[in-house]
Symmetry: C2
Subunit: 741 residues, 2 copies
């Protein structure tokens, strides 16, 4: 901490920031803003975060729980105290909870899975059984199935190709998959597509357990009976209440019947610990799995099937439960109808300390300090909205329903949505709209890392460089610019970003607070304060980063959207996609040569059952020119706009107001009204979660997934749609340009 | 097996080979040779191999054992029956065996290591205790040491750099290292160099155990109590009897005292099983090891030190034991003083079925059939020498002492030495002198793979191609030429090749007979016939390959050495070495930039002890031109010779005889009389085992190791020596060329 003090000292006595520029601020306003930010930083407290976390994680606080409702009320009270107009936004959603869970290995070495996480003396809240959610996957089907078991590695489509080569079918079987490699909901979805009748997901110690480090309570990693809960709803189709797709699930909303819902998993699914998985995996016969499939248990991993059968029996309460979002507004002094929204969910799988309370308490501290400054007269120019979402864990329920319920107003008013979720010690990570990439680089350069005293941007650069391979090092040496990642799925930005086209970002620190508490009862105050962010120094770093971003967006003279950077990023995605198509083509050609020359046949061990690879279909050339032409125009126009914006101080207030409205609504033009193929809810044409990856983003998703799945005509059609979308978007840029004529 | 029959059918009725050429045979002789080879193939029997293996593996037959002596006598009797002049060549060598072995973990969770491989009902010979060698490392020091334990990964120099970064010293400690990543003798050598006082080596299941597949007796892999025995003598300095360096250890030879010997390990060393290793590894504290160090046991791997101490107590009998090589000669009809030598060792660590008897019985079958054909009048033109070496396992004792004892005669007479050792189902592997690379490609094209019916060359090509990555596939597609590997250490070719400069090769099949029997009591007839080469079909393939190579070398009109290919290979090694130097230079520059910019400091987790990397010394430019000029001349001359050799049928018998003598002795010119730095026994300037890798070859070893160890002046000096060696070699090529003037 010594370095930290020295640097604060420097900040106070060296007025070196006096000449600092901030993109979007006229020179005279920049200095005021920087002073404001300095005050903001200085008022942030770590002890508040601990106090709130202690309260909020004192019991299970999932959607529908008494504690969850109490937590919402607690936060609402605080926000009101801090000067925010606060409401509890209530929705009513389908949230299944377990009625019966049983998993047994039958046969001559029977085993009944424990399915329970033990109480630990070192973890004070692990013994709280009242309202504790047992280990389960939300939106699994009810079912009682008995069948042989097959190990499917991660359970993604490529794994089933490998199984086919091994001559193993999962039809009529129960599959067991490792967590990881995709969002968990992909595993039962793909299993069901291949005819499996049940799915077990377990945390392998090679990914999440003793291989990484000492297990809880000795160390932070997942103990032998630890289980990752989580949703398996088919959210890549649409998130939110499955019975109210596309509109708010208010108390009396019209609902689909459960049988009409397509996103509830078709087969029973259950998550288990690696100790429960061990006897199941030991029962498997058949070939030894490929090296990449092997885990960290002390066994030989076989693909199966098992000789003994497995019985999986699950029944759920399919109840409609109320959820409570907290929505706290501070009206902007100049532009009350331009909203900068900040959000983090407040529900957890049980105690949920790291996920989500670590981010929640940072957001609360931002709100508290801004409230305190407002009382001193430092009012934000635009309206700030602080949200605490309920029901994120099962299906982004609270955020999605609220967004769907207020879609038109949000599209009209929202400047940007800034999300956080879990937070821990380490390095800054940002994903989001690339129009905000430059903006976040500036913000990150002004936030100090609590452990080293350099900026969080500088530390991120050091980490990226130190971890890079030889050739990458040479490329990035000296380049401190932080590329932000594209957003797939996994937290409450989805409805804002991918459904409404509101510029969004997800912000968090991590990398030095690793652990295995995720979605277990051990994600507790005890665990968090020992391992994730002792002292909440990175909670404060998150508050500085997100808070600073909020304040800059709220007070900017010209909103700092850089569509030229976004255009450059889209260009990179297209280049990448064309290279992928070329690679697919040359791979298919090579593969077919090898198949025709009997190379695989001669190379294979004749004693192993091994189906030879099938001849690949040849990969056609696609016509990319419509998108290329659209990008060329866009590049020219966004370059011109970027230049013009630096002279925006010449515009009058009315013009400026109009320009800002164009700027913050521009990204909405990247939506396509009919959305993506087979999932109209996802309208953004640049970013979407992968249909077969879940969390993992697919950029230019329509075209990319068309190519990946060999659906060439669809890929070609999506090129046309993207070109037309980009042309629409360009007309907005042209409108902004016209403001300068 | 169906394909096999079809193909034999084709061979018999299609005289398509009638026009086949064989390099080194004049056209009229090539057809006779091919007919001879056909007869040879047809007489090979698999049942003989099984009969001999059953006898030879019926009890422990290591050097100094009664069974080993009986086995030598048994083989001598057979060779004599087959028409060979056979002698038992006896030497007397230092061979330590255990008197006392104990390994204990002290402290509050004490553990006494079992150090014994259990008897298994499924393995008939595992219960034979008479003369069974216990689990130990030969040439370990005596010692009784008690100290804390440190885990050193593979125990190679790079691992100690990593330990230094973690702030851990092994000074005064006992180290525990995983087998693999280097020859085992490197581990205690490097440990002792760093101040360790004892060394434990264990087989981690991630390398050698249940991770690969089911363990014995269910499957072929190493069981929980299986132990890899083996030598830890410092053989990269010199192999053979350590008390008679450079000369034969005949009964009354003058010997170094044990205290004068430099190659006996300085500290006590013991190999253990993974079940014995588990409690030791669990006792370790300190940082979690880097990912690359982690093994397959169900624990978190820590670097140590341990809080409890470990006591390692070892005492050995340091006896001089007799060894018995079997040397069987069939005099050549035309050139009795030109010898083609074939060898395989006959001693094993206990039953030694795969290692070495699988190769031994193939060699015996070659000799039997050649003997039978000789009785029918098909006498080889050159003398064939079939050898069965004793004492290979401890230190290549039998071969080295015999070679040292007959060095001058061997250099005068030996055309080539062909070695084999273990053999199993799978793909052909050949390493050796690159002057024989084309020769072995021709041989491999004419041997049929027993499982697929294509040639073993074609199957090797298919395997290489199918296993290659994307970019390599494109490079090798359609190119069926087999690059042979360079020889480091690991079997009886070393004295012939690296000490005397006799063109050598090591031949074997493998890749589909994997297992964990290596140097354990389970390397048995039971294991071999279930898992390694059921039916001995690859024993026969080895006999066809090595036997065919023997017969072609014995009968060639012009010996098929291709020094142009060798020159091309040397050129590749030089290119590779220059690229390595450039890489070292740019890595050092990059590393120093990162250190100066505090990149590692800022990227490191401040909560972990981590010594920052030290600034690297800058890498100088070396003057390679002497070698480059020598290679340029050599390239021109070997190209010219290659062309001239195709017209060698114009030479008369005397000239041809002289030419052949030049050809087979040429590689001896690649020796440098004073050998390599700090190890004069290794005289070959192109190939040597690595001083710090053991098995692993170092090509252009003087220069390469100078560069790797940052000894720039030595590297420069070795460039000069290599250039002068190549010039000497070139004068031989010029002498051969002169034969055509």
């Amino acid at each position: 901490m010594r370095l930290l003090h020295i640097c604060l000292f420097l900040t106070v006595f060296h007025p070196s920031f006096a000449q600092q520029k901030i993109t979007g601020f006229f020179q005279q306003n920049a200095q005021r803003q920087l002073a404001f930010e300095k005050q903001f930083d200085s008022l942030l407290s770590t002890s508040n975060q601990d106090e709130w976390m202690k309260f909020l994680t004192a019991g299970p606080h999932h959607i529908g729980s008494a504690k969850g409702k109490a937590n919402a009320a607690y936060k609402a009270t605080l926000f009101r105290q801090w000067g925010y107009e606060t409401e509890l936004a209530e929705y009513h959603v389908l949230f299944p909870t377990p009625k019966f869970r049983s998993l047994e290995l039958l046969g001559d070495k029977p085993y009944k899975a424990r399915l329970e996480e033990p109480v630990m003396a070192e973890d004070k809240t692990s013994g709280i059984k009242s309202e504790q959610l047992p280990t389960y996957n939300a939106y699994s089907a009810d079912g009682d199935v008995t069948a042989e078991l097959v190990f499917v590695n991660r359970g993604i489509p490529a794994d089933y190709e490998e199984l086919e080569r091994m001559g193993i079918s999962v039809k009529g079987k129960i599959v067991i998959a490792k967590y990881g490699g995709s969002w968990r909901g992909i595993k039962p979805k793909v299993a069901a597509e291949h005819g499996a009748i049940g799915c077990i997901i377990y945390s392998d110690p090679s990914d999440d357990g003793y291989v990484a480090g000492d297990v809880y309570p000795k160390g932070p990693y997942r103990p032998g009976q630890g289980v990752q809960r989580g949703s398996v709803m088919d959210m890549p189709v649409y998130p939110g209440d499955p019975t109210t797709p596309g509109y708010g699930s208010t108390e009396n909303a019209k609902r689909l019947g459960r049988e009409e819902v397509t996103t509830i998993m078709k087969i029973p699914v259950l998550p288990i610990s690696y100790e429960d998985a061990l006897p199941l995996l030991q029962s498997l016969k058949g070939p030894v799995v490929p090296d990449g499939w092997k885990g960290g248990l002390p066994i030989t991993y076989h693909a199966g099937p098992s000789t003994s059968k497995v019985r999986l029996h699950l029944e759920f309460n399919w109840d409609i439960k109320p959820l409570y979002n907290v929505i706290a507004k501070m009206k902007g002094s100049h532009f009350p109808d331009q909203w900068v929204i900040r959000g983090n969910h407040h529900d957890g799988w049980n105690m949920g300390a790291a996920d989500p309370i670590s981010g929640m308490v940072a957001e609360m501290e931002e709100a508290r300090v801004i409230g305190a400054l407002a009382k001193k007269g430092f009012l934000p120019k635009r309206t700030l909205v602080f949200c605490a979402w309920d029901g994120e864990e099962p299906a982004l329920l609270g955020s999605t329903e609220w967004v769907e319920d207020h879609a038109a107003e949000l599209q009209k008013k929202t400047v940007a949505y800034l999300n956080s979720d879990g937070n821990s010690r380490g390095f800054l990570g940002i994903g989001g709209s690339h129009a905000l990439e430059n903006f976040f680089n500036e913000v990150a350069a002004d936030v100090q890392d609590p452990q080293t005293g350099v900026s969080v941007l500088e530390r991120k650069y050091a980490k990226t460089l130190a971890s890079a391979d030889r050739s990458t090092k040479a490329k990035i040496l000296g380049n401190r610019y932080m590329k932000i990642s594209a957003l797939g799925a996994g937290s409450d930005y989805s409805p804002f970003f991918q459904h409404l086209g509101i510029p969004s970002a997800n912000i968090g620190f991590g990398g030095e607070g690793s652990g295995g508490e995720y979605h277990s009862i051990y994600d507790s105050h005890d665990h968090f304060t020992r391992f994730k962010d002792p002292g909440y120094h990175y909670g404060t770093a998150l508050a500085k980063t997100a808070g600073r971003a909020m304040l800059r967006l709220a007070n900017a003279d010209v909103l700092p959207f850089d569509y030229n950077t976004l255009t450059g990023t889209i260009t990179e995605y297209l280049t990448d996609l064309k290279a992928m198509l070329e690679q697919l083509r040359s791979d298919a050609e090579m593969e077919n040569k090898l198949i025709n020359d009997k190379v695989y046949q001669l190379a294979a061990d004749p004693q192993l059952k091994f189906a030879l690879p099938k001849t690949k279909l040849s990969v056609p050339y696609l016509e990319f020119s419509p998108v290329e032409n659209a990008i060329a125009v866009l590049k020219k126009d966004t370059e011109a706009l970027k230049k013009r914006l630096s002279g925006a101080d010449q515009l009058d207030a009315v013009q400026l107001d109009k320009l800002n409205a164009i700027l913050y609504q521009a990204e909405q033009k990247l939506l396509y009204e009919k959305g993506l193929p087979r999932r109209p809810w996802y309208k953004h044409q640049i970013y979407a979660p992968g249909f077969y990856t879940g969390y993992g983003v697919k950029t230019l998703p329509g075209i990319r997934e068309g190519i990946e799945e060999g659906n060439w005509s669809e890929a070609q059609e999506r090129i046309r749609i993207l070109a037309s979308t980009l042309a629409d978007f360009d007309s907005t840029i042209k409108a902004a340009l016209a403001m300068f004529n």
